[in-house]
Symmetry: C2
Subunit: 117 residues, 2 copies
DNA sequence: CCAACGTATTCCGATATGGGTATATGATGG
DNA sequence: CCATCATATACCCATATCGGAATACGTTGG
């Protein structure tokens, strides 16, 4: 009865889609222009079904578009979905920019070391 | 012989760590300041072990620091690891702008097609 | 020391995941 | 229509994942 959901479906979630290194690699490759599945699988050193499956995920979350070109199917980047991730992480910019960040971490470490002695 | 790795371990990978909605929620909550585990679990409507386990993942990828405070353990944001994600997605900025242009062009085409009906 | 409180870990069950391999589906040229 | 190339899907396996419940561990006050 679907009581225990193991994790959010990788599809329909951009954060999950880009959690996979090979999928990130695909997106990077596609910045240089559209590619066929075979080209991608060769450039990545991955089996064709492997590439196809990752492309399916990327397609379902909307990060790539595909178009038929003869026997081939060309995949093209659609980076709009990455904007949400960029903006979400951007919401933390002031926290990683704080100049006392490193010093603060250092102080915390000292405190902790003391307490654990 | 560990031949089939199901997916990259969620630990040691920031992209994977933030693929989990609850973990993202924790990070957001911690922007307002450090919190104990119980406080977090209550604010999130999650069990205490649930919170603890997500915090462990976040700690292992370095997105939070913890410090003992009496019986409690206070968790604090360490957003530096998010910078990598921000920058990676930032590498696509010109593409999502371009995509908007393309969408815009498409919309223009639609308008035009209508007028020509 | 011990009772209590706060937190972490362990175990379990259901499910998602990724990589193979084999095979199905699709499109093309002739 | 057929042979062929390109891609997608199905199936299997090993493992990761998440949530819940029970329990272990740690700290503190009395």
């Amino acid at each position: 009865m679907m009581a225990n959901m193991a994790r959010a479906a990788t599809t329909s979630d951009v954060f999950n889609a880009i959690a996979e290194p090979q999928r990130r690699e695909i997106l990077v490759l596609l910045r240089a222009g559209e590619r066929s599945v075979t080209e991608l699988s060769r450039e990545m050193g991955v089996s064709q079904p492997g590439a196809s499956k990752h492309l399916r995920v990327l397609r379902e979350v909307g990060l790539v578009r595909d178009r038929k070109a003869g026997k081939q199917r060309l995949y093209e980047l659609d980076a709009r979905g990455l904007r949400a991730v960029h903006e979400w992480t951007g919401g933390f910019e002031r926290f990683w920019n704080e100049s006392f960040d490193r010093l603060d971490a250092y102080v915390q470490d000292l405190k902790q070391a003391r307490q654990e002695e």
